[in-house]
Amino acid sequence: MPEKLTTTTSSTVPPPPSLFGRIAFGYRERVVRNLVPYVFLAPAVVIFTTFLVVPMGMSFWYSLTDWPGIGPKHFVGLDNYKTVFTDSDTQLALKNTVIWTLVLITVPTLLGLGLATLLRGRERWKASAQAVFYLPAVLPLVGVALIWQWMYNPQFGFVNAFLEKVGLGSLAIDWLGTPSSAVPALMISAIWVSVGFPMVLYLSGLQTIPDELYEAARMDGARRWNLFRHVTLPGLRQMHIVIIALEVILALQAFAIIYALTAGGPGNSTQILGTWMYANLFSFNKVGYGSAVGWVLTAMGLAVAIPYVLWMTRAE
């Protein structure tokens, strides 16, 4: 009996926690309340739609035409996409994109993981070293490109001057002007910028591994390598997914560093899909075809991003 009494009295005070139903509103008030979230979202949605979603739709429409950027558009169906998969220049750009992405996942991830493991902790020298490895990541990519252009300069660049000083002058070449060395040279400059990001994420991931786990493993006689393999790596499992997904997305968006260093040259040897699309649109007046190239790139990005975002928001 007493229990029943308490329930009835409590129901006269606020009803159960539902965000809108707390106070007894009239119908009109309830409608207004239900609109509140949409009002909050409106500015973001309008800007996002106008300047991101609509342009995507427009460029998809372009990709189905032979539009040169001016004048009338003629619908050509999927012809541009058929050309994407036969044209040898585009094939090279596609191949470069895949290699670029694979290298810019593997090398920065491994370096970032190694650095994070070595630099975990609060000592001052570790903090300074972390800063050194992260610093390039905040620099403007155009600045980075010009810095490396100077390093690679065939006449006065540091790389060749250094090779000469250590007696390897015969190896000195025009790094960015030679098709076989241009891609690796670009990758080195991109890796320089990209190491900090996985390092910072891994460091934040390492903070979630309790010290006791290390202590316990050490008690069992585990040394460095075993600690790394059996405590560090498993503790970072979730972080690996985050880092690799974001790295793929970033690598596919690469543009500025390549455009500013080689603009896709020499020949088209350093062209990736992003720069190749840009060249088609703004140099060759092939807006239709360039948009198809861009959509192949976008599709690659979405193929990674959609599962990643679903995984990330799954907890709800």
Binding site: F40, I47, F48, L135, P140, L146, F158, F197, S204, W295
Partner: protein
């Protein structure tokens, strides 16, 4: 790793009769420090080289090569690059767009993140997913349509043409960070305010925003860096030199200073220096912001 901290605490007795783990770890630490030290030097090299170049005269560079220390420090390159390259204009344009874009973008993003974090409504999950997927859209694909759209809107030949596209591309990350920050706000505070019939706008601005100030600072700094560095959209949308942002201006200096390497190097340093300074001052916020972007759920 914590065992490394044991070493300084080791007493002389410990040195005279070293137990096995201590010795192994001290060797390990020596190797670590060496590897890291060499790595740091290699990583700093490009920046050191460009600084050395900017500080010397062209003659000195040609005579003694880039892998040397300048014979005489010459600061004239900086003033020559600043005036010769009209870097002042580019600075002004970049700062203008930055001081409007960053606060406005964060305001819009936190407004949007609030219902995503706290309210139940139709399409919430779908909307959040779509906004986040925006992270993966390569800017290049939107450039030509953006030109058309801005032309229709009649915005042309001004640096403000960049404002709304910049905000649009910044929204996914900003909403992700703000939503994560809002989720740290205790629900009871919101419930209590709603009991008092506070409006949602009031709760958002007066209760939630002050509680997420550290996240706002991180986001502002990251967003500021991104805006300062942005190149692709500016490259496509801005054609008139007087509207160039700094990265665009520096990129075009290449032609102007084609053979005067020290001046070119000075221009590059003028462009990257604010970011280096910001990094030195606010590194904690920067790295926290990056880490927040990698949070799950």
């Amino acid at each position: 790793m914590t065992a490394q901290m044991d070493i300084p605490a080791a007493t002389p007795e410990a040195w005279s009769s070293p137990t096995k783990p201590v010795r192994a770890l001290s060797w390990g630490k020596a190797a670590t420090v060496t590897v890291i030290f060499v790595g740091c030097i290699v990583f700093m090299l490009p920046l050191i080289v460009i600084l050395m170049t900017a500080l010397r005269s062209q003659v000195d560079l040609i005579q003694r090569g880039p892998a040397t220390v300048p014979h005489q420090i010459d600061l004239g390159n900086f003033s020559a690059a600043w005036t010769g390259g009209t870097l002042g204009d580019f600075y002004r344009n970049t700062v203008l767009i930055l001081v409007v874009k960053v606060p406005l973008g964060i305001l819009i993003a936190s407004l949007a993140a609030y219902p995503i974090a706290f309210m139940r409504f139709r399409g919430r999950k779908l909307l959040f997913v779509i906004l986040l997927v925006g992270l993966a859209i390569p800017q290049v694909i939107t450039l030509f349509p953006l030109l058309q759209i801005t032309r229709v809107m009649g915005v042309q030949n001004t640096v403000w043409i960049l404002l709304l596209p910049y905000i649009a591309f910044g929204l996914p990350f900003a909403i992700l960070v703000m939503r994560a920050a809002f989720r740290g706000v205790p629900q009871e505070l919101l419930e209590a305010a709603r009991m008092d019939r506070a409006s949602e706008l009031y709760i958002w601005w007066r209760i939630c925003m002050p509680l997420v100030l550290p996240a706002l600072a991180s986001l502002a700094i990251l967003d500021g860096v991104a805006t300062w560095n942005e190149f692709v959209i500016a490259l496509a949308l801005i054609s008139n030199q007087q509207n160039y942002t700094l990265p665009l201006g520096i990129f075009n200096l290449q032609g102007q200073f084609s053979s005067n390497y020290p001046q070119m190097a000075a221009g590059v340093i003028i462009c990257v220096l604010p970011m280096i300074l910001l990094f030195l001052i606010a590194r904690k916020y920067l790295t926290q912001g990056v880490a927040a972007g990698g949070l799950k759920g």
